[in-house]
């Protein structure tokens, strides 16, 4: 069983939901990534989504774009990100790591080479934002061949016909983008999410994580009441961005603990 499947299975038996924080690898500088990943785990992260910096992050808002630009200023490439995951695996053998990024750095690396090196580094899942199902049968095949989960997005605007494509090509979990727009924008429509999730879960046969627009413990707990996982990105990046030098890991841990507590409290209630 993959680390991601094992994690969801363990959580389910405890009647808990997954907390999935996102940070951009190399932000605010490469030396901070490992301490931040450990800080996320200390705060209660079940899975870590690690952003691979890209020069043109079209689907992201200004917060994550700035994180990408800070990392790129240090020359953080996909190869360096894989090295970071390798280092993380030396101190944490259980927390799944999902790389999230754009197609071009992966294609420049070479799909087969990337699959081989990502597996060796200890990557568990890969989400390529600009690979919709119709363009990535090959990507899905290559990832699955090395035991890495290809993770796909669904959106409020997705028609039901797409659920089957995603069910066939994807594994691990589905990332449901909870609002129209880019990362970090606006607020979430909980009723809409609550209405869609059961149908999606039933058709894709995978856990469904919800992200985009979740900024605090209250909204995280509300999402946890309907989804299998809660993804938080921009708010963590903002915390890192505004943290006085050296304090980011502690602040991130504190923020996630608050979110974790709210999510777990709901589940006990």
């Amino acid at each position: 069983m993959s680390r991601i499947a094992a994690k969801f299975s363990a959580l389910q038996s405890q009647n808990r939901k997954a907390l999935i924080p996102f940070i951009t690898a190399g932000d605010p500088e490469p030396g901070q990534t490992l301490p931040l990943m450990r800080a996320l785990v200390a705060g209660g992260a079940d899975i870590i989504e690690l952003g691979v910096p890209f020069s043109d992050p079209m689907a992201d808002g200004p917060t994550i774009q700035r994180a990408s630009e800070r990392a790129l200023a240090y020359g953080v490439s996909l190869r360096i990100v894989l090295g970071m995951v390798h280092e993380f695996r030396k101190v944490d053998a259980t927390t799944p790591v999902v790389l999230m990024g754009y197609a071009n750095p992966v294609e420049a690396y070479g799909l087969e080479n990337f699959a081989r090196d990502a597996q060796a580094a200890g990557v568990d899942g890969v989400l390529i934002v600009d690979y919709p199902p119709e363009e990535c049968a090959e990507f899905s095949r290559v990832m699955k061949a090395v035991g890495i989960d290809p993770i796909f997005l669904l959106a409020p605007t997705s028609v039901e016909a797409r659920f089957a494509d995603v069910a066939q090509l994807g594994s691990g979990y589905i990332y449901y983008v909870s609002l129209k727009g880019v990362t970090g924008s606006a607020t979430i429509d909980l009723d809409e999410v609550a209405r869609r999730i059961p149908a999606i879960r039933a058709q894709v046969g995978m856990p469904v994580g919800v992200g985009f627009g979740i900024r605090d413990a209250v909204s995280a707990a509300r999402i946890a009441s309907v989804a299998d996982a809660v993804v938080i990105g921009s708010k963590i990046i903002e915390t890192i961005e505004q943290a006085p030098a050296g304090t980011a890991p502690a602040l991130v841990t504190a923020f996630l603990r608050e979110v974790r507590a709210a999510m777990d409290k709901r589940e006990q209630a």
Partner: protein, 401 residues
């Protein structure tokens, strides 16, 4: 290659291995809606008739072809003919596509249009049609381009558009495109994104080409009438590649006509400061399609340079990528200095002030003409006029207004 049966792209927008739909899931339904609306519009004679009527009465088509006899004589070789897209309303070929997409937006009931712009030509054309059809208009433009193209920014504002400066990345066309995509994904219900070039996710490369194909279609008839035959070579500048696709498209089956796209070599390919994606790039994925891109070893998109803002783009339309690989078209490069020299030639010898973009195509004709016999014919797409470039050219010549 069976160019007689040219029927690119396939139904998912692939030109061979190029093109496609590489966007986040959030955009997929909007593209499907657009694709369906476009397919239906194309089959509707009323839509075609209205498009053609607008081109005739509002844009001023057909644009003439002009034989640049004096310049040809001075160069001492092949005859240079100019397709005068610079004489269109708003001064460039961009308006052809904007009319088409705005009519489609209206048909789809979208009251708001957005656009990205580099040189400002596409922004002006979009602002123009938005005013013409009573639509709200927002144009995204890199802050570096806003500085270089102040006159066009003012034009857009006069036409009622809101111009939003883009400060991210290299602050040029590619960043404006990123920002326009973000607006679109956020405001999908009421907004139509008018892409200005033959790039982006399907159906844009095909749709923009179709709206621009009027250029080549007119040339086929006009060259017969003017010269009694088709040209030996058709030459056009290539940034994203819309004016080139527009003039190439109907010539693709005419395999005895050579098609030449001219990319911006900036300070020279070897300097690394250029915008020649087909000549010096590698295939990759950006802005919704697979195509040739200027990128570093790690797949990061690199900043480009050209004296002409309209060519300053690290990608290129996927159909050009396919035409290059198949050998049907050839792609060459011209430096800033060569483009400037051709710019001054056309001003001085023909009384025509060309856009700096188009000056790249002119510069290649200038290089080529003296090597060919006087009965050879080169047809150059003079895609836009140079009024917008006064500031840049004056600066280069050390002149201050």
């Amino acid at each position: 290659m069976q160019v007689n049966e040219y029927n690119m792209p396939d139904d998912r927008g692939h030109f061979g291995k190029y093109g496609g739909i590489f966007v986040a899931e959030t955009l997929i339904p909007a593209l499907a809606e657009l694709n369906a609306a476009y397919e239906q519009a194309q089959k509707d004679p009323e839509f075609r008739a209205e498009f053609e009527d607008e081109l005739e009465h509002y844009v001023g088509r057909p644009s003439p072809i002009y034989h640049a006899k004096r310049w040809s004589q001075l160069l001492g070789g092949a005859q240079i003919y100019l397709k005068r897209e610079d004489l269109n309303h708003t001064g460039a070929h961009k308006i052809n596509n904007c009319i088409g997409q705005a009519l489609l937006a209206r048909r789809m009931g979208k009251p708001r249009v957005i656009a990205e712009t580099g040189a400002g030509q596409h922004g002006v054309a979009t602002a123009t049609v938005a005013a013409r059809y009573g639509m709200d208009c927002v144009v995204y433009m890199g802050s570096e381009d806003i500085r270089r193209q102040a006159a066009n920014v003012y034009r857009m504002k006069l036409l009622g558009a809101k111009v939003v400066p883009v400060e991210s990345g290299s602050k040029t066309l590619k960043d404006a495109l990123n920002e326009a995509m973000r607006d679109w994904v956020t405001n999908i219900a009421d907004t139509f994104y008018i892409i200005g070039t033959v790039a982006g996710p399907h159906p844009y490369p095909m749709m923009v080409r179709d709206f621009q194909a009027v250029i080549g279609r007119e040339c086929l008839g006009q060259m017969s009438a003017l010269a009694g035959r088709q040209p030996d070579q058709v030459i056009a500048c290539v940034g994203g590649g819309s004016n080139a696709m527009g003039i190439f498209y109907d010539y693709i089956p005419h395999t005895d006509v050579k098609l030449v796209g001219v990319e911006a070599a900036g300070h020279g390919i070897e300097s690394g400061k250029h915008a020649a994606s087909l000549t010096a790039g590698r295939p990759g994925v950006l802005h919704g399609n697979r195509t040739y891109l200027l990128q570093d070893a790690n797949g990061q998109i690199i900043e480009t340079h050209s004296i002409s803002a309209g060519l300053d783009y690290p990608g290129v339309g996927p159909e050009h990528a396919w035409l290059k690989d198949s050998g049907r078209a050839e792609y060459v490069t011209v430096t800033d200095d060569e483009a400037l020299a051709a710019f001054h030639d056309l001003c001085g010898y023909e009384g025509i002030i060309p856009a700096l973009e188009s000056s790249h195509a002119l510069a290649y004709a200038k290089r080529l003409a003296p090597t060919l016999a006087q009965d050879r014919i080169l047809l150059v797409n003079l895609s836009g006029r140079g009024d917008k470039d006064m500031h840049t050219v004056a600066e280069k010549s050390g002149i201050q207004f």
